[in-house]
Each structure stands twice: as structure tokens, then as C-alpha cells.
Symmetry: C2
Subunit: 337 residues, 2 copies
């Protein structure tokens, strides 16, 4: 490890230049001749001098950090998605000289916006990555109106013309993959187990299911049910589907999440109906889907995190990113057994 | 939202004091009379002035931040533990005016130490919370030697007299709970499925199993096997245990992790042996254990995160924390079905 006691004066003395020249070499290299700059930077290396981040922040008027929300665990099954997202952000941030600052989830959107506002205005962060966007989300509207730099992981639901950057995974494409897999396996009565209509992520995944059935020209009634994201409610909802008369009982259930798939799997395992249990397909490819041997739609979460940085880095430099919105394609993860 | 254009001068004019007095009210309140300080702070509130964090950092020579590592997902089953830990840190940090900065996992300990060193010396963070400590961990030794402020989530394995702060969960107490649960359920041949000997977390959990069997006075051979943290190896290891002759075949398998329990569960489900399948007990109470209906040892992760802050906050104020090490008690989570 290099010595850590070197100061700006140490470097200046070593390079035979003024403190201001050292500062310029670090913060405004274009102001110096190449030879001078190289001599100073060489002295920086030899001295082991490390510029203080707060000083650099003051000089550049930048925090060199982005903020993202840390959520409490709910039922936990899909929590890993965020975990992977955090690592991807930390990785991509590090590559771009940006730290990732976690802020704790708040009780209301209003409190969250106030907290984010404080982080940005106090220059604890230069930009924020919003997660878990919804159709009634007021956070993007507020941040855009106040000219803040941000990127949403999630489309601008309900604000199709919203002037902000976003990255998302194509949920409808995911449930289409699920339906097509069920069709290939010979299923014909493919039901959907969704969330109560949210006009956003859940509605998009439902649309992929309905459109895939349309495209395949599968006749007969389409069944669906809904539950909030807890396995118990999902089990009851799936049981309602499986209690339908034999000719209407689903032979596959495409689920909006692995939590709901877990409930559907339990309902299928204990269903008194004769014949093969229905094929249950989940969403998020969590370890739970793997443990239960269920196919599940996999989101490219690490890529999504990198895509957020690809949008934010140019924005922070005052430039337009290559695209305003980035929609990534999911895949279908099949069980290994 | 308050206006954001207020400056130190706005506040000074509003309070009828000098800029220096405003600065003192914010950073050195003890230097002012109470009445003056209150008048300035009232003006700060009325003006909507928000001190810049970098300026405050320079004034206090503190980053007002702690750093913690973001790991890539391995198999993912136990990843939620970290997710919960992050949220707990963000929550407890927020309560203490400390932000949580994520740094990406590095390929080697040496690179990680260099990165942490850089974060601390550049004042991007005041302290670090080390995760995933091991018996061959050189990070605490280095950080202690260089006088850095840190806390380990994990005991100072192999450095019993190590002069640093730590928080951990009592793993041996966890596997003792698991063994006692198996005994209550009538099991008598209780095997252990562990990690290859690591002299640390895994060895501690194995010790709890062995000591609980000693305490109960259970006769007969004790069987154990090991696998690294992948379900496939665990399934093979569990199969070796279940292929033992009838009188030696385990009727319970206490596992060092839910990943290994997942493998053991698969081996038990496909075992050709007659009779009841063995009781499999996991560790970490992840959604996978819940999905498979396995009992599992639950670690108080949120409490551990808060305990880390309870150690770091006094350290950062130059004071000794109430204890050098904090060992938290786990519980046993039973399946709901």
C-alpha cells in the first residue's frame, strides 16, 4: 500500500510546481501543457497522494455517486432480483468512477421523494435510480419537474410520453415465452395467474399471455385469476382454477411471479383432480422455481443495471444518452431435473 | 419542497449574523450562545438552505458514510441474507446520519483491501463493514494494522484475540436447535451435511450439531458428509448418507445451509430406501426452505446490521463501543404446512 500522508504540498514540491498546478493537473488537465501534466501526475503516483473525495466533489460540484433504494424483504422470494441489481450497479458504477449509495425505503412515495431530494440537493448523490415504478408513480414526475438526473428501472407506466430515461425488461415477451413453452409441451388450456390489475408490470405480463394465445389460435375459454404477492393467496387462486370442471381445468398455469407460482405448485400438488398435474411456469427464475423444478422467465438483471449506467453516465456529462428507453429481452429458464 | 437556491449568505442575512456564525451554528454549535444558535437554525429552516454534503465533509473531515461489499449472485439461495443486511444497514445508517456505499466484490482479497483502502483514504467512506469473513481472512489484519475503522459481520476466526469489532450470529446454537428439533420429532440417527472444513462458520455449525448429540447422549455412529455450496454436490453427498445400511441410515440430516438442504431434500425424495424419508433441516430460513417445507435455522440479519452500526457509531465519535463483539442468537423457522 502506498503511504497516505502525502498532501498537495508534497506533490507540488516533488514536481517543482505550485499547488494550483497540481490541482489543475487533477481537475482541469486541459489547462496544462502535456509535459507539465505528466510530470505532476508522475509526482502524484510517486508520493502516494490521494486526492480527498470531498475536495474533488467541491471542485467538480459533483458527488460522483448515484443513489438507489434498499427495500425491506417482503416475502423474499423475488428479493434476489434486487440483490443482483445492486451488484450490477456497484460494478458498472465502479467502472465509471461512481459510487452507489443505498437509501432506505420509506413509508410513502412523498417521504421517498423528500429523501431523494435531500440526497441530490445536499450533493450526497448526483443521480438516482428509481426501482419498482408503477402506474401511479409520482416520483418520476417530481424529479423530472425539478430537473434532477435520474433513470427508472421500469417503464414510465401511464406516462408514455414521460421525458425521462428508463430501462426495463420486456415482461410481455417473457410470458409469451412461457405460453409457447406450454404449447410445445402439449398444453392447450393455459391459464394465467396474475396480480390484481396494476396497469403496469402485471398488466404487461398478462398481455403477453393473452397475445401468445391469440397468435397460436388456441380455442376455448381462457381462465385467469389473481392474487397479491403472497403464496397463500396464490394457492387459493390456483385452487379456484383447478376446481373447474374437467374440460375447462387448466393444463398449464403461467404465473406473474415465482411467489404466485409457488402457491400454484402447492395447489397443483394437493389437487384431487385426476390426471397429470398442470404445468406451472413462474417469473423471475428464483432459487424457489429451481428448487420446485418449475420453468420460469429469467430477467437479465445485471444487464439492466449496466444499461442504467449507460444512460446516466452521458446525462451526468450533460450529454444525451444513445436512447431514452432500453427494453431488454428475457429468456426462459428450464429446470435441470 | 423547500426552495433550494438559498445559500449561506441568504441564511446570514435572514438571521442578521455573519457567514462564519452560520457555519458555526451548523458545524460547531458549542461555540455559540444558545439564543444565537437557535436564531440561525430558525433562519436555516425558513430559507430552505441545505448545507452541501461535500462542504460538511470537508469541514468535519468525515465522509458520513460507511462502505459494504456488493456480491455477485452465486447460486443465489442464500443471497437474500445479504439483501436483508443491506436494508438493515441503510435503515440504521440513515438513523445515524450515515450513508451506505456499496463497493463491488473483487477477484482477490488483496484487490478488495486496495479498493477499501482507497474508499477510506479518499474519504468516500469513514468505515467499512466486512462481510463473509473466514479463517484465512487478511482484510481485518490489514485494516486494523493501518488504524482504519471497521466492523466485521463474522467473528475473527483464527484470530481469537484480534483487536477489532465484530457482530455474528451463533451458528453452533443454530445447529443445536436443529438437532433438538429432530430429537423431539423422534429422530435418533441425526447426520450432518457440512461444507468442507473451513475452520470458521462451517466448523462452528458442525460443532453445534456434535455437542447437541453429546448433550443428548445419543448412542451409535455419527455420520456426516460435505459439499461445497452447490445443490448438485449436496445431493450426491446426501445420497452417500442415505445409501448406508438400514441401521445406520440417517433419519435426519442437519444441513449447514439451505442450498445443501435443497440437495439433501432431492436425494431424500428419490431415495429407494423403504420407510419415511429423513427429516432435512436447513440453515438460513430462505424462501427455498419454505417452498420445500423444510425447517431451517433463521438468523436475525436485520438486528445484525443494526448491531454493526451500534459498534461503528461510537468508534467514529472516537469512543469505545459497549462491547467489542456481539453474538446474536438464531431461532428455528418451522414450515407452515
Amino acid at each position: 500500500m502506498a503511504a497516505t500522508s502525502a498532501t498537495l504540498d508534497t506533490v507540488a514540491a516533488l514536481a517543482g510546481v505550485s499547488r494550483q498546478t497540481v490541482s489543475n493537473a487533477l481537475h482541469h488537465p486541459d489547462r496544462l501543457k502535456a509535459a507539465t501534466r505528466d510530470r505532476v501526475l508522475d509526482a502524484v503516483r510517486r508520493s502516494g497522494y490521494r486526492p480527498s473525495l470531498p475536495a474533488r466533489q467541491l471542485a467538480t460540484r459533483r458527488a460522483h455517486a448515484i443513489a438507489v433504494r434498499a427495500d425491506p424483504q417482503q416475502d423474499g422470494i423475488s428479493g434476489l432480483v434486487l440483490d443482483t441489481f445492486f451488484h450490477g450497479l456497484a460494478e458498472a458504477g465502479h467502472d465509471n468512477g461512481l459510487r452507489v449509495v443505498l437509501y432506505p425505503a420509506q413509508a410513502t412515495q412523498e417521504e421517498e421523494v423528500a429523501l431523494v431530494d435531500d440526497l441530490l440537493h445536499s450533493r450526497a448523490a448526483d443521480a438516482v435510480v428509481l426501482t419498482a415504478t408503477s402506474a401511479t408513480d409520482e416520483r418520476p414526475t417530481y424529479l423530472a419537474a425539478t430537473g434532477q438526473t435520474f433513470c427508472a428501472f421500469g417503464r414510465p407506466w401511464g406516462h408514455a410520453d414521460a421525458p425521462h430515461d428508463w430501462v426495463d425488461v420486456d415482461g410481455a415477451a417473457g410470458t409469451t415465452l412461457a405460453v409457447n413453452h406450454a404449447l410445445e409441451r402439449g398444453c392447450r388450456r393455459i391459464a394465467f395467474l396474475g396480480w390484481p390489475d396494476d396497469g403496469a408490470t402485471g398488466a404487461d405480463r398478462r398481455r403477453g399471455w393473452a397475445e401468445a394465445l391469440d397468435a397460436a389460435g388456441v380455442p376455448g375459454p381462457r381462465r385467469e385469476d389473481a392474487a397479491v404477492n403472497f403464496a397463500e393467496g396464490a394457492e387459493a387462486a390456483a385452487r379456484r382454477l383447478l376446481d373447474l370442471p374437467a374440460g375447462e381445468r387448466p393444463d398449464a398455469i403461467v404465473c406473474v411471479s415465482d411467489t404466485l407460482a409457488f402457491g400454484a405448485h402447492r395447489a397443483a400438488a394437493t389437487s384431487p383432480a385426476a390426471g397429470d398435474p398442470p404445468l406451472v411456469i413462474g417469473f423471475d427464475a428464483t432459487p424457489v422455481a429451481r428448487a420446485l423444478g418449475l420453468p420460469s422467465v429469467a430477467q437479465p438483471i445485471r444487464e439492466a443495471a449496466h444499461a442504467c449506467l449507460d444512460l446516466l453516465v452521458p446525462r451526468l456529462a450533460g450529454e444525451d444518452p444513445p436512447a431514452r428507453g432500453v427494453l431488454l429481452a428475457p429468456s426462459l429458464a428450464l429446470p435441470s431435473h
